[in-house]
């Protein structure tokens, strides 16, 4: 029988003050709430879509109407599409300098630290406000390497239209699930990245998504194409102030990793607690390529988030490192999916989750090793920390192995802070309070160390672990 610690550990909730500051809603244009063919046509017209994109949107709407709401995850009963405004255009166009961004919007991004981060250590930044990108810039030296980093809609109307048409929603087709179809119908904003063969983008690019309007949805699309033997680190951040009506985020990320290339995609998700975050992320990886996902999920009322990797090329690799922190009123269903579809591929999933104050944190995963993936390896490890009995933490992994020439391992642990570890640290001179703080900090450490320094600091600020031991 395990030893159980009877002391209670108190972990403070995330300090959201900076994220909760609301701007006055002053849209240049917004569609009516709900989802109809007329609304989809309005969005398409407003965005001046090419015909094929308008038809794609309408087809996606048809699919949306036919697909069922998922019955296997957290409840999304509180989300009523009739009340969601799917397109809100702020009163500004896209700028390449912060000085041209309207004052209130610029102040919001200043508070979030985006321009500072750009100055100190990013190769380029895109900033989306509600449904439109308001700022996009890339360093000249990166641009000179042939790297394209722009908003998706500009790219759609320029020389890259063909490339976008060949890739847009090919990895995540609208038939994938109901909210992928919704995304296909009403998507707006997002970024397009192309890294040419042999180019290594040494410092990261970042897109930041801010949703300010109450009752709105954000449906940005991020399309990343990295050619052969190239490298990219892309960072995605997001936040929204809290309202007492449901907001919806159904974005989509598609990443094409070329042969011998490596892409790292880092996310700090910090939506407000009225947000339904039904996001889809997927990468396909060519021969000898690598996709690395680093994911921190802290916000949202309800999340469905499982970045998927398709290991399509021989000896391609995937790594997923994730942390989920669910507090009061949150149900965060997160994890990862991987399909091994070529020989000699490997995947490694490491996740940590913390549930407190009635929060629900679920880990869900799927590892499929196809008949073609002889010699593949996969390991999945998830650890969950329950900080009180009002919370909940479920672990729902699945493995499907269709070849004998594979090695697959999975382990999961759930529990509270180990009394033995506390005892050991106290025997080394630490107070009980410090010992527990160290253990909980160490629990999140493997994830923090995968992030760029400034984001690791942000994550630590977000978690803001305050340990208060009640001794004796």
């Amino acid at each position: 029988m395990a030893a159980f610690d009877t002391e209670k550990t108190v972990v403070a909730d995330i300090d959201r003050t900076v994220y909760d500051i609301k701007d006055k809603v002053d849209a240049a244009y917004e569609v009516s709430s709900g989802l109809t063919e007329e609304i989809v046509r309005d969005i398409s017209r407003e965005k001046n879509d090419p015909d094929w994109m308008r038809d794609f949107r309408l087809k996606s709407l048809e699919i949306y109407e036919k697909l069922p709401i998922p019955d296997w995850g957290p409840s999304i009963e509180g989300l009523d599409m009739k009340n969601i405004v799917t397109y809100v255009r702020p009163k500004t166009g896209m700028s390449a300098t912060w000085a041209q961004v309207p004052e209130d919007i610029k102040n919001t991004f200043e508070r979030l630290g985006i321009p500072q981060a750009e100055r100190s250590g990013l190769a380029g930044v895109g900033a989306q406000y509600d449904s439109e990108v308001v700022y996009h810039n890339v360093r000249k030296e990166v641009e000179d390497q042939g790297v394209v980093y722009t908003d998706l809609e500009s790219a759609l109307k320029g020389p890259y239209e063909g490339m976008i048409r060949d890739h847009f929603m090919h990895l995540v087709p609208p038939t994938d699930h109901k909210f992928a179809a919704l995304h296909g119908a009403v998507w707006s904003g997002g970024s397009f990245v192309y890294v040419p063969a042999g180019v290594s983008v040494e410092i990261p690019l970042q897109s930041y998504f801010r949703l300010n309007a109450p009752g709105a949805g954000q449906f940005e699309h991020t399309l990343i194409i990295v050619d052969k033997n190239a490298y990219l680190h892309f960072i995605e951040g997001c936040s929204a102030p809290k309202y007492n009506v449901a907001n919806l985020h159904a974005g989509c990320v598609e990443i094409f990793v070329g042969e011998g290339s490596r892409v790292r995609y880092s996310t700090i998700e910090n939506w407000s607690k009225n947000m339904y975050n039904l996001n889809t992320k997927r990468a396909t990886v060519g021969k000898g390529g690598t996709i690395e996902w680093v994911s921190g999920s802290f916000g949202s009322h309800t999340s469905y988030l499982y970045p998927m990797s398709i290991l399509a090329g021989e000896k391609s690799r995937m790594e997923f490192t994730g942390i989920t922190f669910a507090g009061a009123g949150q149900e965060l269903d997160t994890g990862a999916k991987v399909l091994h579809a070529a020989p000699g591929t490997s995947s490694h999933v490491t996740t940590k989750s913390i549930a407190r104050d009635g929060g629900v944190s679920n880990f869900r995963s799927s590892v499929v090793i196809s008949e073609k993936a002889a010699g593949s390896k996969s390991s999945v490890s998830c650890e969950s920390l329950m900080l009180d009995s009002r919370s909940r933490s479920d672990t729902i992994p699945a493995m499907d192995i269709r070849t004998d020439k594979a090695d697959v391992g999975h382990e999961a642990k759930i529990g509270r802070i180990s009394e033995d570890a506390v005892f050991y640290l106290m025997s080394r001179g630490l107070s009980e309070e410090d010992a527990k703080a160290l253990i909980v900090g160490g629990f999140a450490e493997p994830i923090a160390k995968e992030l760029p320094l400034e984001y690791a600091v942000e994550m630590n600020n977000l978690i803001h672990l305050e340990m208060k031991g009640s001794i004796g």
């Binding site: 029988m1 395990a2 159980f4 019955d71 296997w72 869900r364 799927s366 499929v368 008949e371 002889a374 969950s384 329950m386 900080l387 009180d388 009995s389 919370s391 909940r392 933490s393 479920d394 672990t395 729902i396 992994p397 699945a398 493995m399 499907d400 192995i401 269709r402 070849t403 004998d404 020439k405 594979a406 090695d407 697959v408 391992g409 999975h410 382990e411 999961a412 642990k413 759930i414 529990g415 509270r416």
Partner: protein
């Protein structure tokens, strides 16, 4: 279609693991019904009486097969046995179900173990063709101990469905051993409800799937009482184009403080055509628990094979030894030496045919 072996918490439907597939459906009952297979009480130890009157406490217990599967077996049962145990019984009760072409053994068994009593049951399933279905429901009062050992030695043309349901009061212990060596279709589901303090569930399962066999397992430990414990450990070998799904769930309910649950599965894959699906769940609504699961799947360890070859053991023998080593801890739980030897002999034959 009604669901069989449904998982307690759903996941993506496209994985097709949420319930048994059509391959695992109950075979339709022929219009004229099945011929009855033989159900034999091989050994009835002194101190118990076997009759057909199911204790009321057992009637509502649900197995891992789920309500639909339990109902079908219960309604179509052509054999029933029931035991009430009032003291500690040393020798095992041995029951044997034998099927043949056109025949079915549809057996409903129940055990009511009063406080402090103990009973071991060995249930053997034999036959080369036909239908084998069993549902065993066990109610354990405080401190009762019941050990159920199910040994399946069926041929490759038998359809098998097997449900086990146990409800344990404080301090009770349910020890369950399942050895599945044959059957065209094998669908098994065990559920133990650990309702009160210190109730324990200890399950060990070994299976072998060859040819185009379909194996589907759904085992659940519901921790309700404090300080309850579950151990669920599975070893398996898959060859040919065998298709297997194992669902194992440890469910810590609020109030199950200081409970511990461990589950594991180790699968050896012997052929490129196999399909191995594993879904090990931990559902946790209680802070003060320890839950752990581990699963591994792969080929026989090549280093170990090389080592054995270097010691003069032929590759075939080395392979047999390594597979048998996985089955051995499960076989060692069979509480009858003669039967244990028979199982190991049969196992050796079946390993040779892999």
């Amino acid at each position: 279609m009604e669901k069989v072996n449904a998982i307690p918490s759903l996941t993506w439907h496209r994985l097709r693991v949420n319930e048994a597939s059509e391959k695992g459906a109950f075979p339709p009952v022929p219009r004229r019904g099945w011929g009855a297979g033989d159900v034999t009480l091989v050994k009835v130890p002194r101190g118990i009486t076997v009759d057909e009157d199911e204790p009321i406490a057992c009637e509502e217990l649900e197995s891992g097969l789920g309500q639909y599967g339990d109902r079908l077996i219960s309604e179509n049962a052509n054999s029933r046995w029931a035991v009430t145990v009032e003291k500690k019984i040393k020798n095992p009760l041995i029951i044997e179900d034998s099927v043949a072409a056109g025949c079915a053994c549809v057996t409903c068994g129940s055990v009511y173990a009063v406080a402090g009593s103990a009973l071991k049951i060995i249930h053997i399933f034999r036959g080369d063709e036909g239908v084998s279905q069993s549902l065993t429901r066990i109610y354990l009062e405080e401190g009762a101990q019941v050990e159920l050992c199910e040994i399946q030695l069926l041929g490759a043309a038998v359809s098998r469905h097997c449900g086990v349901a146990a409800f344990g009061q404080a301090g009770s212990q349910f020890r369950y051993t399942r050895m599945e060596l044959g059957g065209a279709v094998t669908v098994c589901g065990a559920k133990a409800v650990l309702s009160a303090r210190s109730a324990a569930f200890d399950m060990a399962c070994a299976y072998m799937g060859t040819g185009d066999e379909y194996l589907d397992f759904n085992d659940v430990a519901n921790h309700i009482g404090r300080e309850t414990g579950s151990e669920m450990h599975v070893f398996g070998v898959l060859g040919g184009t065998a298709d297997k799904i194992l669902r194992g769930t440890i469910d810590f309910r609020p109030g199950a403080g200081r409970s511990v649950g461990h589950e594991s599965e180790s699968v050896i894959l012997m052929s490129p055509g196999v399909r191995n699906r594993t879904v090990p769940l931990i559902l946790c609504g209680e802070e003060e628990v320890e839950g752990q699961h581990a699963a591994s799947a792969g080929r026989l360890d090549e280093d170990a094979l090389y080592y054995l070859n270097a010691r003069g053991i032929s590759p075939e023998e080395a392979r047999r030894l390594m597979i048998e080593a996985g089955f051995r801890p499960v076989a060692d739980r069979i509480p009858d030496a003669k039967l244990r030897d028979e199982v190991l002999e049969e196992l050796g034959r079946r390993i040779a045919s892999l």
